[in-house]
């Protein structure tokens, strides 16, 4: 039986006391003069003891579910185990206490690490060059599409190539990034099994197309086996092919985006390469490109000629997409992971992830629809439809109430009542069986029983309508609203 820790924890601003943290030069006698118009007398932050701060945030952490607490099959997010050595290495003084504007001769170790990571990612993707700068997957997409834009501008074709084609099963960030880079989005409907409809694809990809953007395996966990045909067709129309690397864990070492015919790739190091996601970030979204696009990459690119240099600016660079080298501490973790895994380790990770996914698919399809062809890659989507079947959202609450994280739900949009399940390689058969049992149990419960769930967590169902109708993004706003309500009584 699962019970989450529950504390009635106040908002930190209401925890008041005396500051115990001492600052360097705390007792120096210093002269400070601020022009009156720019001067501030006080803030409303309040003071408190360090032990109170630690207790508060430790209690909050205990009311939070993470990979280190249990099974987390959140589809498309690849919530694999994050090895602890990654964190230890990222916290070495030699990596933590270096400034991004230091002279290159003083940061040779950091540049060497970045160079090696790029080289390894080149091998994994088959791309000619890599930038480690993008700070998340979506920023990688924006970077890649900015390169698409710069490339066609250079060819003098940007005025006519205004469109990016994406399947309707794509991640929402794909169309959003295309729009941010200045393109119009053309969405093509998928086949019922979630694969690209070749006929619609050929209608959509024309001389107006700048890029075709796709993830493979797709969001239903199905490998698009017509990918080479699609790549050839897109290239024959002069368009570029963009690989969304969110699902790389399903094919890593088995094929590469380059072999499939892609020109641009972004990776999600916080998914495939085991860096922790930190409750939303930081992530890292390196971008790889083929030879003809190398000159458009963001600067600087780390180079090596016996020493490591950080001054190379690609001749047609799009500029910068982040302040410095990217999320360095995340890059250190991914470097550690790949070095430790080696090629055999990465292959085994991919194979185990695919094996686990197919095992769960096989168990789930005994009582729930699983659209698409049988063989899945790293993930699959189950559809809770049919007489008496519970809503996907209710199944999710039943799962979290039993100490298992829910799958991604209601995505992809083309599958009704979708449960997108990705066990990753970090799952035991026992955990997977238990997940299936909990879902099966949910299908036998009367619909009204879900209303009371969850009961084993800090809170039960949340009033989402109120939350968005009366947005209270700060404690101050909440207190003001409360004060107004009391007045009106």
């Amino acid at each position: 039986m699962y019970h989450q820790a529950v504390f009635d924890e106040p908002i930190i601003l209401d925890v008041k006391g005396k500051r115990t943290l001492k600052l360097p030069h705390e007792n120096d006698d210093l002269k400070v003069s601020v022009p009156p118009v720019m001067k501030r007398e006080r803030t409303n932050l309040g003071d408190r003891e360090e032990f109170e701060v630690i207790r508060h945030f430790v209690r909050l952490s205990e009311m939070n579910f993470g990979v280190d607490l249990g099974f987390y099959p959140l589809g498309s997010c690849t919530m694999k185990y994050n090895p602890k050595i990654n964190d230890e290495i990222a916290s070495l003084d030699g990596f933590r206490f270096i400034h991004p504007l230091q002279d290159e001769q003083d940061v040779q170790g950091a540049l060497k690490l970045l160079y090696e990571l790029s080289e390894m990612l080149k091998k994994i993707t088959g791309m000619a060059e890599i930038t480690l700068q993008p700070l998340a997957g979506a920023e990688g997409e924006f970077t890649g599409l900015s390169i698409v834009s710069a490339y066609f501008k250079c060819l003098g074709e940007l005025d006519k190539r205004r469109e990016v084609v994406v399947p309707d099963s794509a991640h929402g960030s794909n169309p959003a990034s295309s729009h941010m880079a200045g393109f119009e989005v053309v969405e093509i409907p998928s086949n019922p099994d979630g694969t690209v409809n070749l006929e619609k694809f050929k209608e959509a990809v024309t001389e107006r197309t700048a890029a075709f953007m796709i993830t493979n395996p797709n969001t239903l966990g199905i490998f698009e086996d017509k990918i080479v045909e699609m790549a050839n067709y897109a290239h024959s129309k002069g368009a570029l092919l963009y690989y969304d690397g969110a699902n790389l864990n399903g094919i890593m070492t088995k094929t590469t985006p380059a072999k499939m015919g892609f020109d641009i790739v972004h990776l999600n190091l916080h998914k495939t390469f085991s860096t922790p996601h930190g409750g939303g970030g930081p992530g890292a979204g390196p971008v790889g490109v083929v030879e003809k696009l190398k000159d458009f990459l963001p600067y600087p690119i780390v180079t090596h000629d016996g020493k490591y240099h950080n001054s190379y600016i690609p001749p047609k660079t799009i500029g910068k997409v982040a302040s410095f080298y990217g999320n360095f501490a995340v890059l250190v973790r991914a470097w550690t992971y790949i070095k430790m895994m080696g090629e055999e380790g990465l292959r085994e990770a991919c194979e185990t992830a695919v094996l686990n996914s197919n095992y769960m698919r096989s168990q789930m399809e005994k009582f729930m629809t699983v659209p698409g062809k049988k063989i899945k890659k790293h993930e699959f989507v189950a559809s809770s439809v049919g007489p008496g079947m519970p809503k996907a959202g209710d199944i999710a609450k039943h799962l979290i109430d039993n100490g298992v994280h829910a799958p991604t739900i209601y995505f992809p949009l083309i599958v009704p009542e979708a449960l997108m399940i990705e066990p990753t390689e970090s799952a035991t058969k026992e955990e997977m069986d238990r997940f299936v049992e909990i879902v099966k149990e949910a299908t036998k419960l009367p619909p009204e029983s879900f209303e009371k769930e969850p009961v084993n967590l800090k809170v039960t169902r949340i009033d989402d309508v109120d939350a968005s109708k009366n947005p209270r993004p700060t404690y101050k706003v909440m207190k003001e609203q409360l004060a107004m309500q009391q007045q009106s009584f």
């Binding site: 600052l23 030699g94 206490f97 998340a136 929402g172 959003a176 500029g319 501490a329």
Partner: protein, 443 residues
């Protein structure tokens, strides 16, 4: 093969895992990528330690390098909370009921920063200050429907490079407003730069030269209410400096790295982004809100998600999905530890120690170009010597005296070095002594 694996193979009716990859056409399969063999934990630990030792840390140097990223004190308590397994190994809180811990922590970050900036709403993080500025420009143009955005002549080159990229995609025309003789935004040039197409303006304090720009309070009057005001601040200065909300900022941005997050070779950073309440539905980034559960208990939810890409797709306000949530939690811990008194104190220490170094520079007769303008923890100095001469001296002293401004800022004179020098509470008396020796050799 163990029993579990055996059962899985039987269930799938396969003999070999390769059968599950039969859908990948032969012609595109890879046999080897050419990666090296893996290694054990202790081996990688040794290799990593060797790489780390090839770097010279700011602790091993006398460093006065700042220029947007600062060497501030990182309390042990911040690192401790950032390593809590429950926080660091969780994903974006899509299942709110089992993720209340991080949602409350992020809500507290929003509340603390909102107090600090005096802005109605602060999102739960952007990637860094540069991308926060890029998003601010996009937001201003979206709201006003005008396509010109004004930026200051002097701002960090990397910030400029990023906003140019964001502007290109959104079809925004960037126009530069000059600085005046005090190293502040030139109000006359600002007035002259405004046209029918001007959507808004970006100004900052402290600015690139460390100057507390006393012209910023006058900007609203000049641009009027129909144009939007974006103000960039250094959050750690806001214990002693007035908040951007006081100067009627529509949007405030800043680099949150200073709030206890350390250097980390420039990443992860923390993009701070706040806005007025009336723009909350046009604001990028994830927002936590406080509400109740069905039993009436205090609860937290991700609010206004209809702005986001997973729902709105190409019509979304931004493509952002991952952000820098953990860094936001870290800075919430930091602000909680320092509190009101600590934040004021740290501001005073930074300003006071900087003033001490400026006095020292002036004693040696070295030029401080904007010496009449107030600064926070950074200032510009000008030395009549070549860069290579300076480098020879600093190398000997194990000193990084500051960030040298090059041709990207319009400084071309080979016999003159313009340098931005930073002092923080971590700058020691030994560092000051090394700087004194440096001054005595270049004076």
């Amino acid at each position: 093969m163990n029993d579990d694996l055996n059962e899985i193979f039987q269930e799938l009716n396969i003999k070999n895992v390769d059968e599950l990859f039969s859908d990948i056409p032969e012609q595109i399969r890879t046999s080897s990528l050419g990666l090296q063999n893996g290694m054990g934990e202790d081996e990688i630990r040794r290799i990593a330690a060797q790489y780390a030792s090839m770097n010279r840390t700011v602790n091993q140097l006398h460093s006065f390098l700042g220029f947007g990223i600062y060497n501030h004190f990182v309390p042990a308590a911040v690192a401790n909370i950032l390593n809590r397994n429950e926080f660091i190994t969780s994903y974006t809180p899509y299942q709110a009921e089992t993720s209340q811990g991080i949602m409350q922590a992020l809500f507290e970050y929003q509340s603390l920063l909102s107090e600090l900036l005096q802005m109605d709403a602060v999102n739960s993080s952007m990637y860094d200050a540069s991308t926060a500025l890029g998003e601010a420009a996009r937001m201003v143009v979206n709201i006003t429907g005008k396509d010109e955005f004004l930026i200051p002549q002097f701002m960090h080159h990397y910030k400029r490079a990023v906003i140019e990229n964001y502007a290109r995609g959104a079809g925004i025309r960037l126009k530069v407003v000059k600085f005046d003789q005090n190293g502040m935004i030139d109000l006359n040039d600002l007035k002259a730069s405004i046209t029918e197409r001007t959507s808004g303006v970006y100004v900052e304090y402290p600015n690139m030269f460390g100057i507390i720009d006393t012209n910023v309070p006058k900007v609203r009057n000049i641009i009027g209410d129909e144009r939007m005001l974006v103000i960039g601040v250094n959050p750690i200065s806001l214990g002693v400096l007035a908040p951007p909300g006081k100067f009627d900022a529509d949007i405030a941005i800043g680099e949150g790295q200073v709030l206890g997050l350390g250097l980390n070779f420039g990443g992860p950073l923390l993009g701070v982004f706040g806005a007025k309440e009336k723009y909350i539905r046009k604001m990028p980034g994830k927002l936590m809100g406080i509400t109740k559960d069905h039993n009436g208990r205090m609860a937290f939810a991700m609010i206004l998600q209809t702005r986001e890409q997973h729902i709105r797709r190409e019509k979304a306000i931004t493509n952002m999905t991952s952000n820098q949530a953990l860094m936001a939690v870290g800075s919430a811990v930091y602000l909680s530890l320092l509190g009101d008194s600590g934040l004021r104190k740290i501001g005073e220490i930074n300003m006071g120690r900087t003033k001490e170094l400026m006095d020292m520079v002036e004693e040696f007769g070295i030029s401080i170009p904007y010496s009449k303008s107030p600064v926070f923890n950074e200032f510009l100095i000008r030395i009549n010597a070549s860069k290579s001469f300076i480098n020879r001296i600093t190398k000997k002293l194990n000193l990084v005296p500051g960030y040298i401004l090059g041709k990207e800022y319009g400084f071309f004179d080979r016999n003159q070095v313009n340098m931005v020098v930073n002092v923080t509470e971590r700058t020691t008396d030994e560092d000051f002594n090394a700087f004194r020796e440096f001054l005595s050799e270049v004076a």
